[in-house]
């Protein structure tokens, strides 16, 4: 027994267990459920009912069985490769996006540390710079799929995706500079702990949304653009280029693109929670000093999950509210408005920090 515990407690094994738990119990299930929830919620927004027909006998579970039905369907669908496609790139492209989406969760803490044990796969020093690196990888999925499909629509989608990524990547980094300055670190744990401070005695928690409201809007916009969802879904552009870069895919590979989109949606939500809504810290919990450790951890996990789900919901709500930007408008918005704004944000933040210091 002790021997087993020793093996489990080695850092490498522990990290593997954490990866498995966070991905298999948090990111993937949430992403999968969101594929259904997006359809359900959009139906509610539009006064419809949404999917509710898949059934086993009389049981439909309010459409929950559609998840199983979709999965089964895509497994048994033919995996087509278009004529003239670059076979190898075409086959691996879907997984770039998925891996990049999943990798986001590596640095996100879902609860506070207990002793030496952290609820975070790894707390790397560069912290958020890792996120930037990973989200840039995300575009490879779209670009490879676009170029290898031997389809003009797919190529257009891939081109649009890369152009959009590059321009939004620029100010995504700049938008977060404010956060780095306020909390004085790029480490995720440092930023999360920095948000556990309070203003005016114990009145207002120093959450990112209060210290960096403009940074919040800018970063959120950039992330929405990175996930290629409406209003920035020009790379998919259903109305002009059919489905953009993953037009030629079918079956499980197509599902991989779909899943990547939803997992990165969860990733965005988790990131926003971590950076701007105090991460796992439950506000004002420090006032209750005799709180048992297990209860604190449970509350932290609940708080983190709650905010993540709310942010997932918000992104979906946004998608069904805001009309799509034309591609030139997307670019114009990025370069002409958001980039200068994020520079202004950095300067103002710097000035405020200097005056307060």
């Amino acid at each position: 027994m002790d021997f087993l515990l020793e093996i489990i407690m080695t850092p490498a094994v522990l990290a593997c267990i954490k990866i498995a738990v966070i991905i298999l119990l948090f990111a993937m299930p949430l992403g999968t459920v969101l594929t259904l929830m997006e359809r359900k919620w959009s139906a509610m927004i539009q006064d419809r009912v949404g999917p509710n027909r898949a059934n086993i006998g009389k049981f439909t579970g309010h459409g929950l069985l559609h998840l199983a039905a979709d999965g089964l369907k895509s497994i048994f669908k033919e995996d087509t490769i278009p004529k003239g496609a670059n076979g190898f790139l075409y086959l691996i492209a879907p997984f770039f996006g998925l891996i990049a989406a999943v990798a986001t969760f590596a640095i996100i803490p879902i609860a506070g540390p207990i002793g030496d044990f952290t609820f975070q796969v790894t707390d790397v020093n560069p912290g958020l710079l890792f996120i930037f690196a990973i989200t840039s990888l995300n575009v490879y999925g779209a670009v490879l799929a676009g170029t290898s499909s031997n389809s003009k629509f797919a190529l257009l989608g891939g081109t649009r995706a890369s152009a959009q990524m590059i321009s939004y990547e620029v100010f995504m980094g700049l938008a977060l500079m404010g956060i780095f300055m306020v909390y004085g670190t790029t480490r995720v744990s440092g930023i999360v702990n920095g948000q556990n401070e309070y203003w005016f005695g114990d009145l207002v928690p120093m959450w990112g949304i209060f210290t960096q409201p403009l940074g919040f809007i800018l970063f959120f916009t950039a992330l929405v653009a990175e996930t290629k969802r409406a209003p920035f879904d020009a790379p998919e552009g259903e109305s002009e280029i059919v489905a953009g870069y993953f037009l030629e895919y079918s079956g499980m590979r197509w599902s991989a693109f779909m899943l990547a989109e939803y997992v990165s949606l969860v990733g965005v939500a988790a990131l926003m929670t971590t950076l701007f809504f105090g991460g796992y810290h439950v506000p004002w919990l420090h006032l209750w000093e005799s709180a048992p450790q297990w209860l604190v951890t449970v509350l932290q996990i609940l708080k983190f999950t709650f905010f993540t789900v709310v942010f997932c919901w918000f992104q979906i709500q946004l998608r069904w509210t805001v009309p799509k930007f034309r591609f030139d408008q997307t670019m114009g918005l990025g370069w002409k408005k958001l980039l200068p704004l994020s520079l202004v944000n950095i300067i103002v933040t710097a000035l405020v920090i200097l005056t307060l210091a």
């Binding site: 919620w41 509610m44 927004i45 006064d47 709500q317």
Partner: protein
């Protein structure tokens, strides 16, 4: 030369439009309102869950035809060809016949309507002097798997006839045999009283 009429749309410029946020906020207010109203009790949902729920159909709505019957269960139709003549799409085909029993008037031995050609104009109903053909079955959708199934024969068109209620030997006499493949596929109208 005619002057082109172009409708010029006033573009609203200004800071409020340029920063998008007020417009997005307004939009969100609307969609979130609908979302919450429907999340708890589906209060605005307009969907009709079709096979379980059916849309209300007005009695005047022109649906599939039916041939009405007399009290003794016999078809009211006297095979006068009025409907066949008036039909704009020429989809009614009638063959008249005489019954050995002289108390029975001329009657249609064959009365076919090709429902695929029918444009549901209702002229046949208006033309009929005997009120023998009506379109009030309330059958909204006819969806079958072969073209042939849409050729409605006389016996498919006539009202449901229950021999226990109207036991009329005359009627049984001229019953054309029902085609087996259609009898299952074509549901008769429910809940409409026999003529």
């Amino acid at each position: 030369m005619m002057e082109l009429k172009v409708k010029r749309v006033e573009r609203v410029d200004g800071v409020k439009e340029a920063i998008f946020l007020p417009a997005i906020f307004n939009g969100l207010r609307l969609t979130v309102k609908h979302f919450w109203r429907n999340l708890f009790g589906a209060r605005d949902v307009v969907t009709i869950n079709y096979p379980e729920e059916k849309r209300h159909v007005s009695p005047r709505w022109r649906g599939r035809h039916r041939l009405t019957r007399l009290d003794n269960g016999f078809l009211s139709c006297v095979a006068c060809y009025m409907c066949e003549t008036v039909c704009p799409s020429k989809c009614i085909h009638i063959e008249a016949g005489e019954h050995p029993d002289l108390s029975v008037e001329k009657y249609p031995v064959v009365f076919d309507i090709d429902e695929l050609r029918c444009v549901f104009c209702g002229l046949c109903v208006e033309a009929c002097p005997k009120d023998a053909i009506r379109m009030d079955t309330g059958v909204v959708s006819m969806a079958y798997t072969s073209r042939q199934t849409f050729d409605f024969t006389r016996d498919l068109l006539r009202d449901n006839y229950d021999p226990k209620v109207h036991s009329n030997p005359k009627y049984e006499d001229q019953d054309l045999p029902k085609p087996d493949n259609q009898s299952e596929a074509l549901p008769h109208s429910q809940g409409i009283p026999a003529a």
